[in-house]
Symmetry: C2
Subunit: 196 residues, 2 copies
DNA sequence: AGTTGTCGAGACTTTCTGTCTCGTCAATAC
DNA sequence: GTATTGACGAGACAGAAAGTCTCGACAACT
């Protein structure tokens, strides 16, 4: 990720402060844009930046939004390793659901997922982002499997998708709450399912 | 649903053939629009209809797409009632995953879900559509609970969301297959979870 | 001092949504 | 049987937003 150009690179250097300001503003707008859409002009204006500066470094709006999201979401989610599947699952899902239940975060997730459906440049970053989140949960399950708490033939990816599936469908459709109580119930279900 | 106006209603009547043509074309375009977006002009042109005819009967593009989707999806999904939770779940999820795994249907579902995130007029129809699908699965679970196959205190809505959550996150993110094998595995997991 | 490439700013093009207008046509009222 | 009413197809129009292009200014390297 750290830029090491092989050529000496003449000319003015990229303004990292502007780059960070763009991402900061994108996260901010994504979180507080329940009503209107997040536009490039709004981002540029709020970041004190020209539009071309954005398009010089990202191929599309969706790419900016995805990088902004990936830089934040998941930052505050611990990776528990207590030695108990049930306890690990509960801690992880409670933290995850609490974060995703926050209206700002939920708004950001909704907007970015919608953007990823229409912007090809956002599809792969979104896949990468979700893959990184899934990987953490899968690692937790693998440790439980190594301890013998999960049958060795169990489909861990299916368990992972059940957990994040509940999260995403509730964020996108908003038909049910997404809080710690739901996380605890889900942890119990999944742990029981894995055991059987 | 059948229109019974109280006033005699003078003037030319609504063209039901045009209405149906619009919905047919919308479904068709939703399924085959992997690349570009589905636009109002395209729908109007393909249906041989003026744009205003669309906006006279639907408040927005999203409303058209949602009504088109709701009219088709779920039409071919049986509601099994074999007396066995495991068998019912497997039959239902296999049919559901097979339908959703079809590229045309998957494309339609992705587009509509994205549209529902940005178009307020599409949010409620989408909620209604998903609620109707969830209701079928929940009914299946309730029958199993009445038979004693599921603990009476179990959170049926959570089980429902685990099933549809897997479906939606895989449709939207495309990181894993969505076929009958996956449906069978999921049915086994959920049935085992409910039993415990 | 000259070259190169970024900077903020903003005009511009393109695409799409949703509105408005027009002349036409069908169903009811008189 | 003619007038009224309102939907019809067609398409011009306005507004929003993405993404491109150009400008003069500025910073880093030769």
């Amino acid at each position: 990720m750290t830029g090491d150009t092989h050529r000496p690179h003449t000319g003015r250097r990229r303004n990292e402060a502007a780059r960070q300001a763009i991402l900061d503003v994108a996260v901010e707008l994504l979180g507080s844009a329940g009503d209107g859409p997040v536009t490039i002009d709004t981002i540029a204006a709020a970041a004190g930046v020209g539009k071309q500066t954005i398009y010089r470094w990202w191929p599309s709006k969706g790419a900016v939004l995805l990088e902004a999201l990936a830089g934040r979401a998941g930052a505050d989610i611990p990776v528990p390793d207590t030695g108990s599947l049930r306890a690990d699952l509960e801690a992880f899902l409670r933290a995850t659901f609490r974060a995703a239940g926050n209206p700002h975060t939920a708004s950001a997730l909704r907007h970015t997922m919608a953007e990823a459906q229409r912007d090809p440049h956002a599809r792969e970053p979104m896949r990468d982002f979700l893959a990184s989140r899934r990987r953490v949960l899968r690692g937790l399950l693998e440790r439980a499997r190594d301890r013998g708490e999960i049958a060795s033939g169990a489909d861990l990816d299916l368990i992972v998708d059940q957990a994040y599936g509940v999260l995403w469908i509730r964020i996108l459709n908003g038909h049910a709450r997404l809080g710690e109580a739901e996380a605890t119930a889900l942890a119990g279900s999944l742990a029981g399912q894995a055991r059987g």
